[in-house]
Symmetry: C2
Subunit: 332 residues, 2 copies
Amino acid sequence: MDKGFDDVVVSTRVRLARNIKNLPFPKRLSGQEEIYSVLMKGVKEACDELFETRFYKMCDIDSLLAQSYVEKHLISNDLIKNVNFGALAVNKDEDVAVMINEEDHIREQCITEGFDLDGAYRKLLGVDEKISEKLDIAFDKKLGYLTACPTNLGAAMRASVMVFLPALTMTKKIGSLINELQRLDFTTRGVYGEGSGAQGFMYQISNQATVGKSEEDIIKLVKKTVGSIIEIERKERENLKKTRGVELQDKIMRAFGVLTNCYLIDSGEFMELLGYVKLGVALGYIERDMNKINKLLTLSQPAMLCMLAAKVLQPRDRDKARAALGRKFLEK
Amino acid sequence: MDKGFDDVVVSTRVRLARNIKNLPFPKRLSGQEEIYSVLMKGVKEACDELFETRFYKMCDIDSLLAQSYVEKHLISNDLIKNVNFGALAVNKDEDVAVMINEEDHIREQCITEGFDLDGAYRKLLGVDEKISEKLDIAFDKKLGYLTACPTNLGAAMRASVMVFLPALTMTKKIGSLINELQRLDFTTRGVYGEGSGAQGFMYQISNQATVGKSEEDIIKLVKKTVGSIIEIERKERENLKKTRGVELQDKIMRAFGVLTNCYLIDSGEFMELLGYVKLGVALGYIERDMNKINKLLTLSQPAMLCMLAAKVLQPRDRDKARAALGRKFLEK
């Protein structure tokens, strides 16, 4: 992980969409059990050659485990819903996931900590090459990779960077930034997927259309754009510190005081306060490991808390467990 | 200080009202400079024989110092307003104050930490005997001591105990307790004088009419009544702990977290949060010295903060100084 950007970038994710030649897309696949087995076999063989890998059919995966993979951004809720033909391969390090029959037949994903588009893409390329050896992937010389949704045609690649933008959020400049990104063909989402608001000042920024662009072009473009956003956010923070230093420090340290002392806290408040604590670490008000704070963001999610407790927790018990986790993780 | 009651009782105050024979009460004293000197001379001689004492005329006392005496409950705002004929004697330990020309010609006061009506009355009796030697005090065999307000006639004594009633406040049972006390001829006030709300869950309970009662009767009655209130509050706390333990601990520890970390805090929020911290100490959730917390209650008041800084502070600077004081005092 490149620590040089950990004041702004949380994680990087690259995703490739692939489909099998002459096969209906997943939404029209009902009744074709045979093809499901072909897909499963190909992905399994490819992954096994690369990593120690765990395989799950969505019809029998433990629902808490599945939800925890969503919270780790390894899989989507749409995959979970496809109990008939959905399947999943996850490597032991949990940085590579292959979804079978989500929107496309195959979606390969690599997620890394920090700002590392090249690293994530390189790792994913290894996976993609193996899978292409095992399965007959649909590719058109003019259109590129064929995908269920036309916006994914071409490189069929989405490169996403999860960024932490507290200063741009507090100053309300985030709105015009999102508009500007839209104009540049980028999508900005709250952290927990499409449509959700930005919790803990976190946004996921990714490229949109990929037709006519090479994978390298996309990586370069996303890298450059996120680089500019990092600069703007940093300037905005310096400005906030200069003009409203005491108010900012007060807000940050109160959040830290609550998180290190509370006994009950819901997910929304936790994310909000942890956002302030994260900013406090970035600005040097609080001495804690940024990586540990990012881990806490994931571990404090509902399914993760149940996984840690090794049982299903009711909301009030999750609020208790979340508070205990926060106190423990933020201890000096 | 008796630590046995410090979970409920903050301080005890006894006050005696005295007036000079055949003299108009302070409100009608204008133009009689001569009598003012007589009063001053008598009080000064009496106090000098007992303590190292500081004397002030209200026309030239430093206004911050005067306000800090109000915050310490040694004098009233009414005394400060009487710039023509008001004067004040305060002993070095700041537990005895004699106000000249407040509502009565002389008001003798003793304030002690904890629950100590006998101690406060004993000390005050020494002061009263000395003053009675020096000045010709108005006393009627049938009515007792003569006072400006008829409710003070008789023993002319008010015995007050400042109590901390968080559980009765949170459960809203305080309302019927105050009504019951009223019926028993007791007055209940918020901490900072008549009419003010109860800040930090603190109430001042004192006897009302004194005609036909001896000083000893009054002390005994107040002691017994406050004793019952202590019992009720303690029971209510145990009940809260049993029925809403986690919620209570969460509320208390959040308050502690904010007070030990914030950088800006106004007086109202500070008092409220310190009330929760005080309860946390009483319930054993927080290990701190109760006496130190009580000191913080006084030191965090506006004039006290200016006295500590040795200059007049604007509201925002007081909020900064108050936050710094809280962090320092609550450090382990």
